[in-house]
């Protein structure tokens, strides 16, 4: 594989989006033990909401962005409360089917309301590429990279430094003990879904900044985000972000190397991931469960 700094730069920018979606997946997986297959389609739906505000209603970009994320947060909270909580104690497969149902619902909603014609999404990061020596990065890519890193940093700061973030982590690590400390664990689960949906929504908008907005836009992104989350260890938010960046770089390097090419880049990226998991089954940052025998 031809080692190319330029491709690594491009890969990191796209990988930051994978990292954000992977982070959303991990937030939900950590607290409820399920993978939310609808994460990408919820994000697409929220991106259309953002598009409606920014393009149709001519709202300033960042206000529309914030409103779309607030909408995504409430959507996540509502979905947890209305759809997920009733099946909380059901077998995991049942919950998986519920999230697959949500996948089709949101996919159809996006298609039904906004039609399938791809729409350009405005980006605040306009202009040509920035050159450093003979390397360059396009402004949209740089903007997306910085914005998604900021969103992820905010999430980490929230969990690290706020009382609610602490209570959410406690609920994930030991729900029974958390309850006895007075933490409303059910409410923390709702919040977790809300945050995950907001992070996903941000990733959706960033994706639309780079490619056109269409109802199936997040399909490919979700696959890479799954890979990133698994590579990072599924339980580790840091792992999800690092996994996302790695997957982005792998994809980019594989796509441009002469003997692999863009048709085969996806399988090659996954082969590398499988190899990593063979050596570290719990993922790069995952914790292996040790139980006393």
């Amino acid at each position: 594989m031809h080692f190319d700094v330029q491709q690594i730069i491009n890969g990191i920018a796209v990988g930051s989006i994978y990292g954000a979606v992977a982070l959303a997946l991990v937030l939900i997986f950590r607290s409820t033990g399920i993978i939310n297959f609808a994460q990408g389609e919820m994000a697409t739906f929220c991106t259309y909401i953002g598009w409606t505000f920014i393009v149709a209603d001519r709202m300033p970009y960042w206000i529309g962005f914030t409103v779309a994320l607030a909408f995504a947060f409430l959507l996540g909270v509502g979905i947890e409360r209305v759809v997920i909580r009733p099946v909380e104690r059901a077998p995991e497969l049942a919950v998986v089917i519920v999230t697959l149902g949500l996948f089709t619902i949101f996919n159809s909603l996006s298609l039904g309301v906004w039609q399938s014609l791809p729409k350009p999404f405005p980006t605040p990061f306009k202009g040509g590429a920035i050159h450093v020596g003979n390397l360059f990065i396009s402004r949209p890519h740089l903007g997306v990279l910085i914005s998604s890193l900021v969103v992820m940093a905010l999430i980490f700061a929230f969990f690290r430094f706020t009382k609610v973030g602490l209570a959410m982590r406690a609920s994930t690590l030991n729900p029974t003990a958390a309850r006895l400390m007075g933490v409303n664990v059910d409410r923390m689960l709702m919040l977790g879904w809300g945050l995950a949906a907001a992070v996903g929504g941000a990733a959706g908008i960033f994706t639309a900044n780079l490619i056109l907005l269409d109802p199936n836009m997040m399909g490919g992104v979700l696959i890479y985000a799954f890979a990133a989350a698994v590579l990072g260890g599924l339980t580790s938010p840091v792992g999800a972000v690092v996994g996302g960046l790695l997957v982005g770089v792998l994809e980019s390097l594989a796509g441009t190397s002469s003997f692999i090419g863009s048709d085969l880049k996806t399988p090659v990226a996954f082969v590398v991931i499988v190899l990593v998991l063979l050596i570290r089954p719990a993922g790069l940052f995952g914790r292996t469960r040790v139980s006393r025998v």
Binding site: T162, K163, V164, A167, A170, T176, A178, L180, M181
Partner: protein
Amino acid sequence: MALLEVQELTIRFGGIVALDGVSFTVGEDDLVGLIGPNGAGKTTVFNVISRLYTPDRGSVRFSGHDLLKDRPAGIVRRGVARTFQNLQLFPHMTVMENVLVGTHSIGKSDVFSAALGLPQVVGEEHRLHERAWSILELLNLTGVARLVAGALPYGVQKRVDIARALASRPRLLLLDEPAAGLNPAEVEHLAELILEIRRFSNASVLLVEHHMALVMRICQRVVVLDFGKKIADGTPQEVQRDPAVIAAYLGETAEAH
């Protein structure tokens, strides 16, 4: 009126009667030991008081309030905190963070103002940090405050468990076998610690413990359970002389094991 009034508590698991009409009280500023052979129902009593179990019959009143009407998350706001026999720390969080979660119930601000980072919230978090730190000082844990709790030695983790319970400013502290797994020096230290905790917090303590020397030394009163029934209730001296207690511990035929 007693701080904690447990009356006629009965709970069955399948065919097993885990508690059979158990009644006792814990007064204000009391230090009561709850002892009995393995399987006597001591931890079950704790689990009922902290609402992890709902009894089939009986009542639990805490300063006049019916605790059985509360949800598990509500108990700590009434002023009842507990530790666990098998550690239930948040293993991947630091010691300081564990204790901060313990202060969760005494914060006033709700989720949404906290998420917005309003100034009074910042002030409150600052106060909770100070409280957590003073408890870490009391339990001699400041040196490990920034370390991950799950990686610490067992004896230290037990102190973190106590610190976390204490952080909620309890009026009644339920200690579930704090001496289990500790070495003799640590047990000696624990006795001093429990007495110190009472000076610090004015909390009453209900102590489940197998370590008789510890119980007899620090408790003002001792309640003895055997096969889910209360068989004795009195001062350590009275309980030690009680034939029913001696029989329960040694077996009526005094079989050697």
